[in-house]
Each structure stands twice: as structure tokens, then as C-alpha cells.
């Protein structure tokens, strides 16, 4: 179970990543963030950016025609 969930449907880059990053910052190391989004570019760029920032991407799942769910585990402050 994720410790935190955010719904950033309707947002575009870079605000998708801004919201995801602020959510990760507010969490403890080891906790999991679940992100619901509908921007295809963000479904690819957020995992890349999160990995670059030292976080662990656990899952990227397309749940329907429009939406994705990403699971990110916080590894680094």
C-alpha cells in the first residue's frame, strides 16, 4: 500500500513533475508514492527524472485508455 497518493490528471509538464517532487519531499525514506496522471509525456518523463534524483520507480501501469499509475519509493532526501 502506498503511503501517499496524488492525482495530477489535467496537469502538463513541468507541473506534473513539480507536484510529484514536492510530494516525495514531504515523505519519509522507504515510503511509496502513487501518482495518478493522464499526460503521456509525464508517464515517461517522471520515471526518468525520479530515477535521476535517486528515487526508485517500482511500477508504471497504464490503467485505462487515458490514465497511468506510477509507484515511486523514496530512497533519497
Amino acid at each position: 500500500m502506498p503511503e501517499k497518493r496524488i492525482d495530477i490528471r489535467g496537469l502538463v509538464c513541468p507541473y506534473t513533475f513539480v507536484k510529484a517532487k514536492l510530494a516525495i519531499e514531504s515523505m519519509e525514506i522507504g515510503q511509496v508514492l502513487e501518482i495518478l496522471l493522464d499526460n503521456e509525456e509525464a508517464s515517461r518523463s517522471i520515471p526518468i527524472s525520479m530515477t535521476e534524483h535517486g528515487q526508485k520507480v517500482l511500477n508504471v501501469v497504464k490503467i485505462n485508455d487515458a490514465d497511468w499509475v506510477l509507484s515511486i519509493r523514496k530512497e533519497k532526501e
Partner: protein, 267 residues
Amino acid sequence: MEFTEQQLQRYSRHIILPEVGGRGQAKIIDAKVVIVGAGGLGCPVGYYLTAAGVGTIGLIDNDVVEISNLQRQIAHSVNTIGMLKVESAEKTFKALNPDVNIIAHKVRISKDNILDIIKDYDIVVDGSDNFPTRYLVNDACVMAKKPLVSGAILKFEGQVTTVIPGEGHCYRCLFEEPPPAGLVPSCQEAGVLGVLTGVVGSLQATEVLKLILGKGDPLKNSLLVYDALKTTFRKVKVPKNPNCAICGEHPSITELIDYNEGYCSLP
């Protein structure tokens, strides 16, 4: 801290930087920086710190805007000629970012008021144009233990250094005393390529943001020299002088000095 939607948008390019993030931007918003001089260097330093969202920016200057300033002092305009520089700059900075609290100190800085002004700020920026002020600001920052980002320009050359009292060198470790009045020409006498103020002021603003964020290596124990004609940057090591008259082990200067006599100052 919780950002408003507007703040998220305004500072998004900062927040996505790993070295800044939401926490770093919050530090920037909480920071208090005072700039000595609202002229060639003070304008770009204040402009970029305002854009970055530094929460409180003090400006110290008692000159008024003249048309000869406009070749380099980018916060002023033909519409503010005759206005106090601190008020002209405040107007410009507020238009860029109304969230920033600009405090206009409409005074000539002196040994009698400097400590009282800088005590309320975290970081001091020297954008002054004359040696008496440069040494006064250095000595006051060492005494008050305030980090100082000092910049200077003349003709086609600029210098930047960062003084962190108790940790690194100070301006007097570099040059013990001001040169005799008249020996080093002022910009008024020697000229300055206007855009140089933008290069040096931007470097100073960068140093300030790094100090606020606690990231990277500030110009501690070093002096950066920019030569615009050759397009070169040289970083020169400046060791802390253990016998420095102000920051050394046994300081001989125990009170502030106004070296004013004989110097001409350039707005």
C-alpha cells in the same frame, strides 16, 4: 511550506532542480539579503534575487537616477530620472515579483549606521563603487559575522569574492588598506563597459543563492577575475591572513573607519 499555485508556476524551474527542490525554494523565500548600492551591480543583483523569490531584499543608496546611469543600471529608466535609486529599483522589482518585500534604506552608508542596518539580514552584497565603502562593508561584515558577496568592476574587468567570516579570507586579507585617494581611477574617470555590471552582478546573485541553499562551493578564499576583452575567467586563491587587521588572530582594527576624505564617488 505550502506553495500557492502561482508560486508553483513561478518557481517551477527551481523546484525541479535536485539541488533546490521545494525545500530550497522555501529557504530562498525565507532569506533576507541586503544590497549596498542600487547602481550598476545592485540593479542586476536585486533584479535576479527578486526573480528568484528572495523574500526580503534591502537596498541601501541615497543617490538619485541620472541619465548617465542608464547605460548600465538596468532597474532604472527614463521614467525614473530624478527619483531616488532605491525607489526606482523598488518599483522595477515589485513589477517583476510583487511577493518580494523590498526595503529601501535611503541613506548614505557610514560607520554610524551600517551595523544597525545589516543586523536584520542574513547576507550582505557589496555593489558599491568606491574604496571607503568597500572597506567599511567588509569590516562591518567581519564584526557582525555576516557573509558578504563583494563585486567590483572597472573598464573591461570585473572581480567577485565571497567573505564568510570565521571560515575564509576577508577583503583586507586580499588588499590590506584602500589605495591612496586618486591612485585608482573610478568608473567616472576610467569608464566601464555597461554590460560588465550584468556579468559581475549575475555572478554575485549566483553566490548569494548558493549561500542560501548551502550548495556548491562559494568563492571562499578565492577571487574570481573576469576579463571581458580576452573573455577569460581566472580564479585566484586568497589565503586567510592570520595577521589581518580585521579578521586576524589579533585584530588592530576594533572599530569601523570612514575613509571618506579625498575620494570621489560615482553614482
